[in-house]
């Protein structure tokens, strides 16, 4: 009796294992699963949504039993309302990366650790920066969907006129080149600006410029802007250049520049010779000003060892609380985050950096020399990102408030350190109030 039971059990295990393995290997091909339709809400619209839908069609080909209904124009507000209303999408993708802390800490985004462990997913296919901005503390509740990297765009025609050959590599060179490239009208107003150092304009933000000085936001769980000499060094450098132009003159010139995401963008229109911008500008220039002779390079840095690195951020994907089919949503997100073919298609279509290290080596992605620079910045181990906090982007706003006063000359130079300490205090108070720090 015992022997027969044991034999039966072994036979059952054998059967299960065999068919289980076979089933795993051929699940996509045989279509042995029950058909499932999942919803995927994301922030893309119009042409870009079409490119996402194309990638999703590739997923359906691989997993024919899963049909994905794609909806665009998702924002954090809409997703919050959907989760609160109990009708969230099965999978969601957000541009607003800085909301991850709130979504993750509240449980509104599901922890993906069990899926990652179950599928033995190798997170090292993503650079460290991506691993940082897709997790909140020790909770990994998002995967990346492409990335944005920031570098320097420079106008080759204006460079040739000024007798300059290559892009600046140090921040001192950047200031010297900026002065050389600047052109003024007869009345002294600015016609062409070499480099606009004013914070708040286009992509000029502490998060994007800080990495040029190797500046870090946090020391453990506390804000450390005053404690990191990089921030003060950046601000002193910036103020010196602002004063050279004249703050009000620069603001007036800035007010006359076109909308950032239009054909009258100041760099595209030749009104600024060098500009800090994301890799996506390559596609805008191709579409709007193909005649523009320009180059791209990593942003100049304060230390030679930092050159080649930059700021990295990107779109995130998550499984919201209340998702009806989280397993299928996971399969979709894993596919979009790691499938090299899908990432290549998305990167070429959206002109964003593909989010895995293997996809950076795909020749088709590396073909455009303007774009290639950003792929290398993305892969640079010294590239950095912003911290994921429960207070969202409040730390950036509080710092930006101070920088506005500083650059306008409304903070005395000797009060810089005290001012930065006060910024830290405000951020730490907000962190405490949010419950992130006890």
């Amino acid at each position: 009796m015992r022997r027969s039971t044991l034999a039966l059990s072994l036979f059952s295990v054998l059967l299960l294992t065999t068919f289980g393995v076979l089933g795993q290997g051929s699940e996509a091909a045989t279509g042995a699963h029950k058909p499932v339709t999942i919803t995927f809400w994301n922030g893309f619209t119009a042409r870009e949504l079409g490119i996402i839908s194309k990638a999703v069609a590739g997923f359906h080909k691989q997993y024919p039993w899963i049909t994905v209904k794609t909806t665009g124009a998702l924002t954090a507000d809409k997703l919050t309302a959907a989760i609160r209303g109990g009708s969230p999408p099965d999978a969601a993708s957000l541009f607003e990366t800085d909301t991850l802390g709130a979504f993750c800490s509240s449980g509104a985004f599901q922890d993906l650790t069990s899926y990652i462990k179950r599928d033995h997913m190798n997170l090292n296919v993503f650079p460290k920066t991506i691993q940082n901005y897709t997790a909140y503390q020790d909770k990994r509740c998002a995967l990346p969907l492409l990335a944005d990297t920031y570098g320097l765009y420079y106008n080759k025609t204006l460079f040739a006129k000024a007798g300059l050959k290559g892009p600046p590599k140090t921040v001192d060179q950047l200031a010297a080149y900026a002065k050389k490239l600047t052109q003024r009208n007869k009345d002294g107003s600015l016609k062409v600006v070499g480099f606009n150092p004013l914070d708040g304009w286009y992509e000029n933000a502490p998060a994007h410029t800080g990495p040029m000085w190797g500046a870090k936001w946090m020391n453990g769980n506390t804000s450390n802007i005053a404690g990191d000499p990089g921030w003060a060094a950046w601000l002193r450098w910036q103020k010196k250049l602002v004063d050279w132009y004249g703050h009000d003159r620069l603001v007036k010139w800035q007010a006359g520049t076109g909308d950032e995401f239009s054909a009258s963008n100041a760099f595209e229109a030749g009104k600024v010779a060098m500009n800090l911008d994301g890799e996506y500008r390559v596609a805008f220039v191709d579409a709007e000003h193909p005649e523009l002779k320009y180059g791209t390079a990593p942003l100049p840095t304060s230390k030679p060892s930092l050159y080649g690195s930059g700021f990295v951020i990107g779109t995130i994907m998550a499984i919201p609380k209340g998702s009806h089919d989280p397993d299928e949503a996971w399969l979709l997100e894993k596919y979009l985050a790691t499938n090299t073919k899908a990432l290549t298609g998305l990167s070429l279509g959206l002109k964003n950096v593909p989010s895995t290290l293997p996809s950076l080596r795909v020749p088709a992605v590396r073909k455009d020399p303007h774009f290639r620079v950003f792929l290398d910045i993305f892969g640079n181990p010294k590239s950095s990102t912003q911290p994921v906090l429960k207070i969202g982007s409040q730390n950036q706003t509080l710092f930006a408030n101070f920088v506005q006063k500083w650059q306008a000359g409304h903070v005395k130079p000797q009060d810089l350190h005290a001012g930065l300490q006060n910024v830290d205090k405000q951020i730490n108070d907000a962190l405490k109030q949010s419950g992130q720090v006890p």
Binding site: A102, G200, Y202, K252, G256, F261, G392, S393, N401, Q433
Partner: protein
């Protein structure tokens, strides 16, 4: 012997049944009143009382919209007055609106209405012209003003330049941003102007005639006849203006977002541009509640706003005893 108690019992029953009928009728009346009032009761409960009570409760919790509220007592109020360094600039900016923006709007609307009552030709045309801006959507109007007052390409600064005057930076200067918003507010005084116009037309002519016979000049007629006659309308305009200023949001949000020159996603981080000069109390409340998911704190801010609005309105109403005159009322 027996007829008297029977008659008494009969009378008592009759009284009781009359009372019952009366009570029934009273209940029916109450039911009718309640029935007729029910749309208001439902509206008041659902759209005012419930949100008010919920907001008061949430102000005592830490609530991020996504997880259940956690009781923190008065911590949000303490944070507001002891730690949040943006609250005071926001209060100062909002006070500026109450002290400068609202009186300017009232005076301007009154002035335009007064001129329109004096116009002899093209009255309809001018009334339409001054009223039209009130029909323009707030966002579109604000965008228009940011364009008009652009220090580099705006027609106002270009015209000033031709006159040899270097124009200000308008929405880009912390000193000029609020005056720029005031100009935008003055442009859109159509509704207030129409109310003043109606009140001015309604001032009895014989009062002017009597004043003239007594030797009053135009200024004295304005001071002693026009202003007292329309003082209830001035009170109304002031109260509405103050409540509006306490809820001032759209114009400040749009102007800061456009002037800062960033993409929509980033400009939300620069609300209050430049240098927090357009960070009004409701803008800060929105930022905390909907950008940072800090709804418990935003609710505490809303409760403070409610109390301030009540106190200010009561003060204005109290002071009105001294300067508002109602026709036929004894003072």
């Amino acid at each position: 012997m027996t007829s008297a108690p029977v008659a008494g019992a009969f009378a008592a029953t009759a009284v009781r049944s009359r009372r019952r009928a009366k009570r029934k009728a009273a209940w029916r009346r109450r039911g009718l009143v309640l029935g007729l009032m029910s749309p208001w009761i439902v509206g008041f409960t659902v759209f005012f009382l419930y949100p008010l009570v919920t907001s008061a409760y949430l102000s005592l919790t830490h609530y991020d919209l996504l997880s259940p509220p956690r009781w923190v007592g008065l911590a949000n109020y303490r944070f507001m007055f002891e730690n949040d360094q943006l609250v005071w600039p926001a209060i100062k900016n909002t006070l500026w609106l109450m002290v400068v923006y609202v009186p300017a709007q009232v005076l301007f609307a009154f002035g335009i209405a007064l001129m329109l009552t004096r116009a002899r030709r093209g009255v309809g045309f001018f009334r339409t012209v001054f009223y039209l801006p009130a029909l323009v959507p707030t966002v579109a109007g604000t965008l228009g003003f940011v364009y008009l007052l652009n220090p580099a390409t705006g027609p106002v600064d270009i015209a000033l330049g031709h006159l040899g005057i270097s124009g200000p930076l308008w929405f880009h200067s912390p000193r000029w941003s609020k005056p720029s918003l005031t100009l935008l507010g003055l442009w859109g005084i159509g509704n207030m102007m129409i109310i003043f116009l109606a009140a001015l037309i309604d001032v009895p002519k014989h009062l002017y005639e009597s004043a003239s016979l007594d030797g009053a000049g135009p200024f004295q007629r304005l001071r002693w006849v026009t202003v007292p006659s329309i003082s209830p309308v001035i009170l109304f305009a002031l109260v509405i203006g103050v409540i509006d200023s306490l809820q001032y949001f759209t114009q400040a949000y749009v102007a800061a977002s456009i002037a800062v020159g960033q993409s929509a996603s980033q400009s939300a981080e620069n609300l209050g541009y430049p240098e927090n000069s357009t960070l009004f109390y409701p803008v800060l409340l929105y930022q905390q509640g909907f950008r940072y998911f800090n709804m418990g704190y935003a609710s505490a801010m809303a409760m403070v706003l409610l109390v301030v609005a009540l106190v200010v309105t009561l003060l204005i109403l109290r002071s009105s005893r001294l300067w508002v005159f109602y026709q036929g009322a004894r003072r």
